[in-house]
């Protein structure tokens, strides 16, 4: 590799890490603020302007905390758990295109690459749940595995509809194909399926079963403290970012905006709005039960996703790639 490519890769990786950390910090603050206002209170206020310094304070607290390992835990796996969670979450960011030409790698099969890494996460969560030697984390980890696997299938099938129409797995091509009508108008069913399944992938309410505070204390991450907890949290927010990005890129036109010039700002705005709506759900909805959760995926979303694919394929054949 040439020196320029090395430099570009390293700068890109650092930039992505900064993005992930920034999104996590902003996300935590915004979540506390937004849900606070939903609950007729004001959220963090004391440290800095409207509690903005709460985040550095939390970070210092997290880093300074004692790193405890339960006696009965499988020490090696316990230490490895956060790594197993953060690596796929971080690696998936590499293929995201944030503006025309702005991506670490503009991969030909970027979408496949992102999904491939995201699929690794349930494995990490199940691993964490198992390694802690705690019954609550075990149940949480197994719930995470069951939930993420059952929702991945309708999600991928819904994304396949977009791939069929855009005739590419490259994210830039997919977004550029939406300069006219966004795919949300062309494939509304696909959008609904993809969003619901993505919400489940994000472990967000009403699908927050793996964490289920009232039932499982904190689910699979119950035993983690300090920076280990921080890494798991980072992975969760990375999924939130990637998920919101994918909904925005696949269905909401990415950086396109009707009547206005394309800009990365639109993409950022859409991502923030999508993240905010997940927080809104979190502030409003109770949790689904584990049996209704899996039933919803296998009995409703999966058949609907199959219908969606056939519909999209038929329309694409009938109307041709220029129109649909």
């Amino acid at each position: 590799m040439s020196a320029a490519l090395w430099l570009r890769t390293i700068v890109g990786l650092v930039a992505l890490l900064a993005l992930l950390a920034g999104v996590t910090l902003f996300g935590v603050w915004w979540e506390r603020k937004f849900i606070g206002h939903l609950q007729r209170r004001r959220g963090p206020l004391h440290h800095g302007w409207h509690g903005l310094l709460q985040l550095p304070a939390d970070m210092i607290k997290m880093i300074a905390k004692e790193d405890t390992v339960p006696t009965a835990a499988d020490s090696l796996l316990f230490q490895f758990g956060p790594v197993a969670a953060i690596v796929p979450a971080y690696a998936a960011l590499a293929a995201l295109t944030f503006a025309p030409g702005i991506a670490l790698i503009d991969m030909q099969h970027g979408l496949l690459y992102v999904f491939a890494w995201e699929t690794m996460l349930p494995l990490a969560f199940a691993l964490i749940g198992w390694s802690c030697a705690n019954k609550f984390t075990l149940i949480g980890g197994l719930r995470a595995a069951a939930q993420l696997i059952s929702y991945e299938i309708p999600m991928l099938l819904a994304a396949l509809g977009v791939v069929l129409t855009a005739q590419s797995m490259n994210l830039t091509t997919i977004i550029n194909a939406q300069t006219g009508w966004w795919y949300v108008f062309k494939q509304p069913l696909g959008f609904v399926i993809f969003s619901v399944a993505m919400l489940a992938e994000m472990n967000r309410s009403p699908f927050d079963l793996p964490e289920a505070e009232s039932e499982l204390v904190a689910g699979y991450m119950t035993e983690y403290s300090g920076m280990k907890f921080g890494f798991v949290q980072l992975a969760e927010y990375s999924v939130l970012l990637v998920g919101s990005y994918l909904i925005a890129a696949l269905f909401l036109g990415g950086w396109n905006m009707p009547f206005l010039p394309a800009s990365w700002l639109w993409l950022a705005l859409k991502i923030v709005l999508l993240m905010t709506s997940t927080m809104w759900f979190r502030g409003t909805f109770p949790r689904l039960r584990v049996d209704t959760l899996t039933q919803m995926s296998w009995k409703w979303l999966l058949p609907a996703a199959l219908v969606n694919i056939m519909l999209v394929a038929a329309l694409a054949l009938w109307l041709g790639p220029k129109v649909y």
Binding site: S214, E215, L288
Partner: protein, 376 residues
Amino acid sequence: MVNFPRSEATGGTETLLLNVGPQHPSTHGVLHFMLEMAGETVVTAKPVIGYLHRGIEKLAENRTWQQVIVLTDRQDYVAQFSNEWAYCRAVERLAGIELPERAEWLRTLMGELNRITSHLIWYAGVTMDIGTLGTPFIYAWETRERIFDFFEAVTGARMMPNWMRIGGVRTDIDPALLADLRTFLERDFPKECDTYEALLTGNEIVVSRMKGVGVYTAEECVHLGITGPFLRASGLARDLRRDAPYGAYAKLDFEVCTDPVGDSLARCRVRLRELRESARMCIQLIDGMPEGDIAVKVPKALKPPAGDCYVRTESPRGELGVFVASDGTTRPYRYRVRSPIFYGLSAMPRLLPGHLLADMLVIFGGIDTSMGEIDR
């Protein structure tokens, strides 16, 4: 450590012993559940109580009759006035003390307001148990805080009022405060109730989770001595406020809320309707509040004649019974409480098996458990 035998429920594999509590986010105090789980399904459930035992019944024997009132507040810290009231009524009956009309009305008003705050805590707890992030919780807390402001203005304390006295009440209520409260109950409270209903019984996910979950028939309830909203949600209209009226209840117009279904959702509906009923009763109490003394003169060294008596009241959780025995001295010989939700909790080993872990918390949170009252 308990070793469970290989269970048929799991197809011959071992079951899992899951200790929910005493340190767990949703144990409503410090309850410990020993659950035998087959996957996520409860096979057997065993509640372990006593973590909040303070020996209130024994402590009472070393205090004068009046000094016990302060303990009754702490007995069930969610329904303070109901507990004071039950104790005071028992001692008054034992000593043959007649109360002025106004004292009875004031007590009834506070008792009903207390029912509202208690049901709001139940609401806050059950919505947390079912997995919301605390939005309905905070809404309920806000209204409760509004009523607590009133308690504070009247009694000087938000939670531990120590307000009722043997022979009456400690302080009178200012008419301006009553007018203020009436406006709140008439104008704002029904709107709040609409919100509560929309967020609980009006939510699709909640209905799907609670419908048909934890069904208990009226007959089973009667066998276990379960009373209050738990029993009324199983279709039996039994309410001491109507069946054995005390205080000012005989002069009030109110409905005993029942529901024929007997599942978790029915228990929610009954309590939510009771919120509105209680507010309606409070308005009647404020409007009809008689003038007069708030207490009769009772000797400081009260010596009820030797004997005993048992008094029943309808607390927010059901039939709260108080038994007091006197040996003719200034201290109770025996003080014993029949705490209603203890009987509700004793239904859990029969109610929970077969349900999922998530259902278990909804069922047990839905009966309005208060460990302070169970352990005493």
